[in-house]
Symmetry: C2
Subunit: 774 residues, 2 copies
C-alpha cells in the first residue's frame, strides 16, 4: 500500500486540530534530483525522529532560526551578515529579503547559500526558503497581482483560488517553499496601517478567502507533496487599541472564540496550514508570542495544532523592549519556547532563540527545542524541501509570468474595484472621452501596497489606463500626496486643465511604500497608522478646486485603506475605489470607465463618515451604536447619522441592476439540521453584470450580546446578460448559527433572522425568520 501525504492529509494526520493517532506515513518516491539528503526510513515521522536522534541540542536549536533578509539591492549579499546567524551554524529557514531583486537572480544566490550551509551540516539538512506572499511572489519578474484587500473586494472565491494557484507555482519555481500568508486578521480598525494586507472586516469573509489561500498555495503535487507551505497569521489580530501598530487587543475569552479565531476555525476545519504566526499584540494583557493560554494551550492542546509556530519579525526580543514582560533577551527566548514557538524571525543580534544555546541542561527547554526541530523538519519533509531545497533555475522562466497567471491577474483586477457612487456619468460616453483631464498625485504611479514586489515601473497606471481609452488626455498632478510644496501652482495648473476638459478624473489616496522616492509620502502601511482618515496633504483641497470648475468629476481612489469621503460623496459625479492594484490596474480601470467591464466589486470594509466615531464595522452589537436615552439629538453630540457608515460592508454599484426575488428560506429546523436558502437573481438592467448575493443572520435572544447581523454565506453569480436569471442556493448548517461561551460552542433553540440581499444594509435585504427547535 502506497501512503502518500494526500491520503494522510485526508486521513487526518496532517490535520492539525485532529488527534494524530494514525500510523506514520511512508515517504513518497523520491525523485532523483541530486539532493544531498538521503532518506533512510519510509515514513516522515520516523524519518524526522531518526534525524533528531542524531542531532545535538545546538543543531536542533539552529532549526528554530531564520536567516533573514540576506539580499541587498542589486542581488548582492553580505556573507558576514549571513554567517552572523547562529555563528555560522545555519538556520532552519532562509529569506531573500529585498523585494526589488529579480526572482531568478535572487534564487540563484539563495541556492548557493543553502547549498553551502547544507554541505557544512553534519546531517545534510537544507534550509527552507520562506518569504512573504501578498500580491504574489516578493521578488521581481513575477506576476504582480492586486493586494489582498483589493482582491477581497471581488467576493469571488473561485477566481481568487486560481490566482493563489498561480502565486503558488511562481513561488515554488523560485525555490520558495513556505510563505508568510494568509493574514486572517480582521480589518476592524481603519486607522491601523496594515488594512491593505487584510481581506476585510468580516470574520466569515476572511475565513473563506483564507481557506482558498491555504488550499491553493498548499496544492499538492502528484506525489502528495505540498507545493508551498502557508502561515496563518497573526494569531490573533483585529483592532489594536486606537489602531496603533503593535498595541494590545482588548478582549476576553468570548471575543477570542466568537470573533478573532473564527477564520482560523474555518481554515483548520477545511485545510491544513503548515504554520501559524502569533501577532505582535497582547490579548487581555499577555503577549501572544508568550501566551501560554491563548497560544500554547488552545492551539496545541485544544485545537491540536502540531505545525510550526513562527514568531513575527523580532516579536521575541520585543517581549523585553516593547511589552516589557521579559528581563533579558534570554528570558524572551525562554518565554517564547515555553509558549511552543518553534521558529524565530529576528536579526542575528536580537535572537531570543539563539540565547537558549547555554540552556541545554534545562530539560524543559531541551524538550521544547526538540519539539520545535521536529516540527520544522516535518515541514521540510512535507514540502519536499529535504529532497529539493533549491529553485530549479533552468525551468523557472516557463513558470514566471505565464499566460495563465496574467489572465487570472486581469480577471481579478477587473473585479477588485468598487463603484461607490455613480450619478449617471459612468460609463463615460464618447463625448466625455473626447477630452479628459487626469488629475491627482495617485494617477501616475503603480500603487500595489506593502509587501508587494514592485519597482513601481512595471504595469499600467491610472493615467496610462485612461490614455488607452481617450485620444486626448491632459495630466496634472495637482499636488503632492502629503505636502503643500508648490501647491497653489500645481492646483492652478490642474484647474486650468479641468476647465478645458469634458471630464476630470481625479485620483486621490495614499501609498504604503516609498513609491517614487518621496519618503514622506508614505502615510499607510505597517507602522504608518493614521488617526485621521481624511486624505493626506492638500488632496481634498485639490478636489474642491476641481469640483468648483464645474467640469464633472470622476473620483478614483487608490490606497489600501478607507477614507472619509464626505465632500466627495456630495460633490463628485462618481467615486470608484481601486484599493491597491497590481500591474494591470490601469487597464482594468480603463475598461470600467468605458463600460467594457462592468464593476462587480463590493466593499469588504465599511467606510465611515468621520474618524472619531470608530469602530464602524457593520456587525456591531445593538448597544454599540444606537443611542437611546433622552433621544435629544443635538448637532454636537455625535449625531446618530454620523455614526452610520457612508458606504457599508457588502455595498458596491454596478452598471446594471439586479433583482433578488423568489427567496425561500427553511422555516423550522432542528439543531442538527440545516437551512436551505434559495433565490433567483435576475439582471434587470441593460448591460451584462455579476451580482454578489449575501446572506446574513442574527439571533433573537442568545445568552450573550451578538452582532445585529453576521455574514453567513455569499456567492457571486456568473456574468448575466440583460434579462438573464440564475438560481442561487445556500445550505446553512444550524451549527453555523451557534456561538461560544467560555470556549464551549452552543447552539440555542431560538428564532433566528435570515437576511438575503445585495449588501449589509437593511434596505438591501429581505428578512426571514427561522425557528430552530430544541
Amino acid at each position: 500500500m502506497h501512503f502518500c501525504p494526500t491520503v494522510l492529509l485526508q486521513a487526518g494526520l496532517f490535520v492539525g486540530f485532529l488527534q494524530t493517532s494514525v500510523a506514520s506515513p511512508a515517504l513518497p518516491e523520491l525523485q532523483q534530483r541530486g539532493t544531498p539528503y538521503e532518506r533512510e526510513t519510509s515514513s516522515i515521522a520516523a524519518e524526522v525522529d531518526k534525524l533528531l536522534s542524531r542531532m545535538t541540542f545546538l543543531e536542533k536549536l539552529a532549526q528554530t532560526r531564520n536567516i533573514g533578509g540576506i539580499l541587498n539591492p542589486g542581488v548582492t549579499y553580505d556573507e558576514e551578515f549571513v554567517e552572523a546567524f547562529n555563528n555560522g551554524l545555519g538556520g532552519g529557514s532562509i529569506s531573500p529579503g529585498n523585494y526589488q531583486n529579480p526572482g531568478p537572480a535572487a534564487a540563484a544566490v539563495i541556492n548557493e547559500v543553502i547549498t553551502r550551509h547544507q554541505r557544512r551540516d553534519r546531517n545534510n539538512i537544507p534550509m527552507i526558503v520562506v518569504a512573504d506572499s501578498v500580491n504574489g511572489v516578493t521578488l521581481l519578474n513575477t506576476t504582480l497581482f492586486p493586494a489582498t484587500l483589493s482582491m477581497a473586494q471581488s467576493w469571488n472565491i473561485e477566481l481568487y483560488s486560481k490566482v493563489v494557484d498561480s502565486m503558488s507555482k511562481e513561488n515554488r519555481a523560485l525555490g520558495i517553499h513556505w510563505v508568510l500568508s494568509p493574514e486572517l486578521d480582521l480589518a476592524l480598525e481603519p486607522r491601523y496601517g496594515r488594512v491593505g494586507e487584510m481581506y476585510g472586516e468580516d470574520k466569515y469573509l476572511v475565513g473563506r478567502f483564507g481557506v482558498a489561500y491555504v488550499k491553493n498555495m498548499q496544492a499538492e503535487d502528484s506525489q502528495g507533496y505540498v507545493r508551498v507551505a502557508t502561515t496563518v497569521k497573526h494569531w490573533i489580530f483585529g483592532n489594536s487599541l486606537a489602531g496603533v501598530n503593535q498595541a494590545r487587543l482588548l478582549g476576553g475569552v468570548n471575543d477570542f472564540y466568537n470573533l478573532y479565531i473564527f477564520p482560523y476555525l474555518e481554515v483548520f476545519r477545511e485545510t491544513n496550514p503548515l504554520s501559524l504566526m502569533p501577532s505582535y499584540s497582547s490579548f487581555d494583557n499577555i503577549p501572544m508570542t508568550s501566551n501560554l493560554e491563548y497560544t500554547r494551550d488552545i492551539l496545541r492542546n485544544e485545537l491540536k495544532f502540531d505545525r510550526v509556530i513562527v514568531s513575527d519579525y523580532a516579536a521575541i526580543p520585543q517581549l523585553q523592549n516593547r511589552q516589557h514582560t521579559a528581563k533579558s533577551l534570554q528570558d524572551c527566548g525562554i518565554k517564547a519556547i515555553a509558549a511552543t514557538i518553534d521558529h524565530e524571525l529576528s536579526p542575528p543580534e536580537r535572537s531570543g532563540m539563539s540565547t537558549l544555546a547555554t540552556l541545554e541542561k534545562n530539560p524543559a527547554i531541551a524538550k521544547e527545542v526538540h519539539e520545535a526541530a521536529r516540527r520544522m523538519l516535518t515541514l521540510k519533509f512535507i514540502t519536499k524541501t529535504m529532497e529539493q531545497p533549491l529553485a530549479d533555475l533552468k525551468n523557472v522562466n516557463k513558470t514566471l509570468r505565464g499566460e495563465e497567471a496574467m489572465k487570472r491577474n486581469m480577471d481579478i483586477t477587473r473585479e477588485s474595484m468598487v463603484l461607490l457612487k455613480n450619478d449617471k456619468i459612468l460609463p463615460l460616453s464618447k463625448s466625455f472621452l473626447s477630452k479628459v483631464a487626469v488629475i491627482g498625485p495617485l494617477a501616475d504611479i503603480i500603487n500595489p501596497g506593502s509587501y508587494a514586489a514592485s519597482d513601481y515601473s512595471t504595469g499600467t497606471t491610472i493615467l496610462e489606463g485612461v490614455q488607452k481609452i481617450s485620444p486626448n488626455v491632459v495630466f496634472s498632478r495637482g499636488c503632492f500626496r502629503n505636502n503643500y510644496t508648490n501647491f497653489e501652482q500645481m492646483r492652478d495648473e490642474a484647474v486650468a486643465n479641468a476647465r478645458s476638459a469634458s471630464v476630470a478624473i481625479v485620483a486621490l489616496g495614499s501609498v504604503a511604500a516609498i513609491v517614487d522616492g518621496n519618503v514622506n509620502d508614505r502615510t499607510d502601511g505597517e507602522a504608518f497608522d493614521h488617526a485621521d482618515l481624511d486624505f493626506p496633504g492638500p488632496q481634498v483641497e485639490l478636489l474642491k478646486a476641481i469640483v468648483e470648475t464645474g467640469t464633472p468629476v470622476v473620483m478614483v481612489i487608490s490606497g489600501g485603506q478607507v477614507f472619509t469621503l464626505e465632500y466627495a460623496a456630495a460633490n463628485a459625479k462618481a467615486i470608484l475605489h481601486t484599493f491597491l492594484q497590481g500591474e494591470l490596474g490601469g487597464d482594468a480601470l480603463g475598461e470600467i470607465l468605458t463600460g467594457k467591464t462592468n464593476p462587480s466589486g463590493k466593499l469588504s470594509v465599511s467606510i465611515p463618515r468621520r474618524s472619531d466615531i470608530l469602530p464602524i464595522y457593520y456587525n456591531h452589537m445593538n448597544t454599540d451604536r444606537k443611542e437611546v436615552g433622552w433621544q435629544v439629538t443635538t448637532d454636537y453630540q455625535a449625531p446618530i447619522v454620523d455614526r452610520l457608515p457612508r458606504y457599508t460592508f457588502g455595498y458596491g454599484l454596478s452598471y446594471t441592476t439586479f433583482s433578488i426575488s423568489g427567496v425561500s428560506v427553511t422555516g423550522t429546523v432542528s439543531k442538527t439540521g440545516s437551512i436551505k436558502v434559495e433565490a433567483t437573481v435576475k439582471n434587470t438592467g441593460a448591460v451584462r453584470g455579476k451580482e454578489v448575493v449575501q446572506v446574513y443572520f442574527n439571533q433573537s435572544a442568545p445568552e450573550m450580546e451578538r452582532p445585529i447581523k453576521n455574514l453567513v454565506r455569499f456567492t457571486k453569480t456568473g456574468d448575466l446578460a440583460p434579462g438573464e436569471s440564475t438560481q442561487v442556493n445556500f445550505n446553512i448548517t444550524v451549527d453555523d448559527l451557534g456561538y461560544w461561551i467560555n470556549g464551549k460552542k452552543q447552539v440555542d433553540a431560538d428564532t433566528y433572522g435570515i437576511m438575503v440581499g445585495s449588501s449589509s444594509d437593511d434596505a438591501d435585504l429581505k428578512f426571514f425568520n427561522v425557528i430552530v427547535q430544541g
Copy 2:
C-alpha cells in the same frame, strides 16, 4: 453584652467580602419614635428570618421593587402612577424623582406615601427612600457642592470626607436612607457623557475617593446604625466602546481584576458598602446585569458580597430591548434574579422582577427572591429604616445648609479648579481688574452637571464671581453654547467689549442638563456622548475673535469633561478649568483670580490634543502609544506628539512653586515587606500654597503587560507659607505592587520603579529603583 452594629462591622459581619460566620447581632436599643414596626428578636439576622418566615412569595417579591420617580415638579404626584407599581403591593424602596422640588416638601409627601403603604402591609415593613447623591442631596434647599469630577481635582481626601459627611447628614435629614453613589467608574474615555459624575481616570485615585465616600456617607450613629447606605457602581465600567452610552466594554479576566474592579477591592477592604449596582454594559459580551460569572460568582462567591445588588434604571428590561439577550420581560427577570440582582429600578410597565409573580412554584426563583428580600430587609435594619423610615420634618431645617456644610463647600470649591496655563497674568493685578470684559455662554449660569439638585438660580455664576472682584465688568454672552443663531452680532458685541477692557475672561464649555431652558444646549451628560472633544457650537470661533482683539484672555472652562484646547493653549494667557461647580463656584473663582486663593487642583483626567487618538489616559501600556517601526514620521500619520496629552493626569499649576527634595526610597525589600518613601516639600515661591505629592510605580518584567506607570500613593500638603517645608511619608506595602493573572494575585520578585513628584509627567518625577526579593 450589648452587640451594636459598630462592633459587628468591625467583627466582619457586615464586611461583605469576609465570610459571615459570626453569630447574629443583637439589635440596638430601639428609640421610641412611634414607628409601627415592632421587633421580636434581638439580632438582625434572626429578625429578618422571622419576618421572612411570615412573608408570602409576592410580599418578598415586592421587596425587589423600587417605586421610582414619584414626584413631579411642584411636589405633586400621581397616586395612580404610584399604585401601578406591583399593583399597589408597594415596594422595597421609593424614590422622590424630580430634583427641582424643595427637600422638606418632597420629604413630607414621601413620608405620607411610605406611611400609607406601610399601614397596608401585613408585616408593617416600610419602604426605604433611595436617591442619587452626587453634588449633595438631589432635592432643593440643600447644600449644592461641586460635582464629583470637580471635587476629585482637589486630591484632598480629608476635605472630601468632610463634604460627604455633610451630604450624608442632609440626606438622612430628608429621610433618604440609601444613595446610589459613589461611582467607581474609570473615566478612561473622554467622549463618554458621564465623565463629570466620575472621580477620574486612575483606579487608585478613584478607589481612595470611593473609600472616603462610603466611609463618611455610611457613618454610624451612636448606636451603630448606618446613617445612609451607599451603592458602589457601576460594576463594572470604564470605557464603553467609542464612548457610546451603554455600549459594551471590551476586556478579559485580566482587565477585570487589574483595572476595573481595583477601586472596588479597595472599598471592600476598608469599608462595607451596603449595595452595589451593575453597569448597563456587557463585559466580554455578557451584560453585567445578568452576568453569572463576573457579577454573581465573583461578587457572591469570591468576594463574599452579601449586600443588595440593585439594577441600574431599566437595566433589567434592557436585557431584552437593548442587549437582545432575553426573549421576554419575564425572561429578563429570570436572568436578573439568577445573577442575584436583588432590587430593580424600572418603570412599572417594564419591571422584570414583577413578571416573576407567576413563578412562585419555581424553586430556584423562589429561593433567589427569598434571598433578595433577605438582603433588602437587612439593609433596612442596618440603616434603621425599620424603626425610622420617615424624615424628621420638625428638625430638618437644623441640618440643611448649615454653617459647617457651607464652609466645607467653600473649602472644596476652592480646591476643585485646575490652573492649566498661566502666562504671568494670574492673579490679576489691580490694573487688569479696573475694567474686565466677561464673555462667553458659560459665564452667566450655574453649571453643576447631571444628577445635581439645582434650579440653576441659586449660587454664584462666573460672571457674579468676577463682579465681586472688579468695579467695572461688562458682560457679553458672545454666542449660544451650541448653535450659531445670531452669532455674528453677539460676537461683535463681545469683541467690542473686549477691546475696551483690560482683560477678557472668556468662559466656554458645555452643560449636561437643561440649564436655562435651551434643550439643544445640552451636549454632555448621560446619553450625551460627544465624538468630538472640541467646544460645541461657535465657541472656539468666539475665542479666536476675542484673542485677535489683543486684549489678554483668561479662559475659564466650565463643564464635566475635557476639551481639546490646542487653540487656547497657544493663545490664551491663562486657562483655568473649573469643571462642574456648585453654588459657590463664582466666589471661589473670584478668589483665585485675585490671588486670595491659590489654586491647588490637579487633573484627575488627561486632556488630549485631538479626538481621534483616544485613549489618552496616562497609565497606558508601553505598546499602546509609542510608535516604532521605521520611525518615519510624516505630517499625516498621527504624529507621535499628537498622541501625547496636552495636559496630563496629576498636572496643575499654582501661584507659587514647590520643590520636592531629599527623597528617600527603600532600596531592597522582601515580598511581605513595605517600601518607605520620604520627601521634603518646600514652598519655594512667594505666596502660600498646597502641593499634591504623587507616587507612581512600575515593574521591570512582569508576566503581563502593565502600565508604564500607576499611581500608588498621594497626599496633599497643608497650606505652606513661602519658604516653609513639610515632610511627607508614604508606606507602600509590596503587595500593592502586585497584579492578578486569571484572578490570582501575584507579586513578583523583580525590580520596580518608584517615581515621586508633582504630576504623572516624567519631567515632574524623580526616579528610584526598588528591588523586591523573592
